[in-house]
């Protein structure tokens, strides 16, 4: 217990002071044994013979091959695209699209305008071209429409007459008597 307290105090002292590299190493050496730490370093930092001699060349050739691969991928992407994806054919596709859309638009407009003209042609027929028999039959069949119109007109006129005052009525009577 005392030893633990002492060690903690040492650790606190270690934290509070500006520790130099030598102090940090010495502290680790005291706890973990310097020889052991050296042995650890040796065991984990072993590299195969001539590894560092050949590493730069291996790395540069890998960088070159990756560069070449990237270029080849780009080229392959252009070559092996479907023909309609290539730049020239994109324009052809765009032109075809415009023609199809424009043509259908024009076609539809023409058909609409033809339909619109049909009733105008019918409205140009004059009354003189219609025979008197046709006119009479129209009036006979549509007499009830005419009656409804007359009645409606009479109702309107009656409404107007009822709203007239005495003076206005006398004036109208004078005109009628003349």
């Amino acid at each position: 217990m005392k030893k633990d307290i002492e060690k903690d105090m040492e650790l606190n002292n270690h934290n509070n002071t500006e520790t130099s590299l030598e102090q940090d190493r010495a502290w680790a050496d005291s706890l973990l044994n310097k020889q052991n730490l050296v042995q650890f370093n040796l065991s984990t930092t072993k590299a195969p013979i001539h590894y560092f001699d050949s590493f730069p060349d291996q790395l540069m050739s890998r960088i070159e091959s990756e560069k070449r691969e990237k270029l080849e991928k780009k080229k392959a992407a252009i070559f092996f695209l479907p023909s309609f994806m290539q730049p020239i054919n994109r324009w052809a596709v765009a032109a075809a699209f415009i023609i199809v859309v424009g043509g259908s638009f024009i076609f539809l407009n023409n058909s609409v305008s033809k339909k619109a003209q049909a009733p105008i042609v019918a409205n140009n027929i004059s009354l003189e071209q219609i025979s008197s028999e046709e006119l009479e039959s129209y009036v006979d069949t549509n007499e009830w429409i005419a009656e409804i119109d007359v009645q409606a007109q009479m109702q309107k006129e009656n409404a107007k007459l009822s709203s007239l005052d005495a003076k206005q009525i006398q004036e109208i009577e004078k005109i009628i008597n003349k």
Binding site: D24, L31, L32, N36, F40, T44, F55, P56
Partner: protein, 180 residues
């Protein structure tokens, strides 16, 4: 030998890029390799990671503004690549192979002083089982002799945090060895 700054300036000026890069590589390749290998212990893994680190350096050296030391940047990339590699292995469910560590253990089994061998093996096991950050901080401080400001910059912590990591690492390893 030209300084890191001079080599980088010449590289960025596009004058003989390969030669300048190779000079930079030869200057620092061993330190980077050792630092990685202390984390992953297996040579094949360390070689893979080291290559990825230097390929990244090659790709990004044009944009390096020299606001920090080149070694700080280099070790930061090495640290991040090693962490990525270890995390990938964890996700795949494979633990990093301790090939070289096991070889050492087997070789040490026949040592004359078994107790010291046990302590050595215990130390190695303890260090490899530390959390990554504590392990890296300990390695960078003890073996590379970096100051805490540089270490903090490499692992992405404060100076106080780096100090704490170092002390925690040592205490944990000590406790582990005492159990043996």
């Amino acid at each position: 030998m030209a300084s890191d700054q001079e080599l980088i300036i010449q590289f960025q000026a596009s004058t003989n890029r390969e030669a300048n890069f190779t000079a930079l590589l030869k200057k620092h390749q061993q330190k980077v390799y050792y630092q990685i290998k202390r984390m992953v212990t297996d040579h094949v893994d360390a070689d893979d990671i080291a290559q990825l680190v230097w390929i990244k350096i090659w790709d990004k050296l044009d944009g390096f503004k020299m606001e920090s030391e080149f070694t700080t940047w280099l070790f930061r990339i090495a640290y991040n690549e090693t962490l990525n590699y270890l995390q990938k292995q964890k996700k795949q469910g494979t633990s990093p192979s301790n090939g070289d560590l096991l070889d050492y253990e087997n070789a040490s089994a026949s040592a004359d002083s078994p107790k010291s061998t046990e302590i050595q093996i215990g130390l190695e096991r303890a260090l490899t089982q530390l959390p990554e950050k504590q392990k890296v901080v300990f390695m960078l401080r003890y073996y590379e002799g970096f100051d805490y400001e540089k270490i903090a910059s490499i692992v992405g912590t404060t100076i106080g945090g780096a100090k704490a990591n170092y002390h925690q690492a040592v205490k944990k390893v000590e406790a582990f060895i005492k159990q043996l």
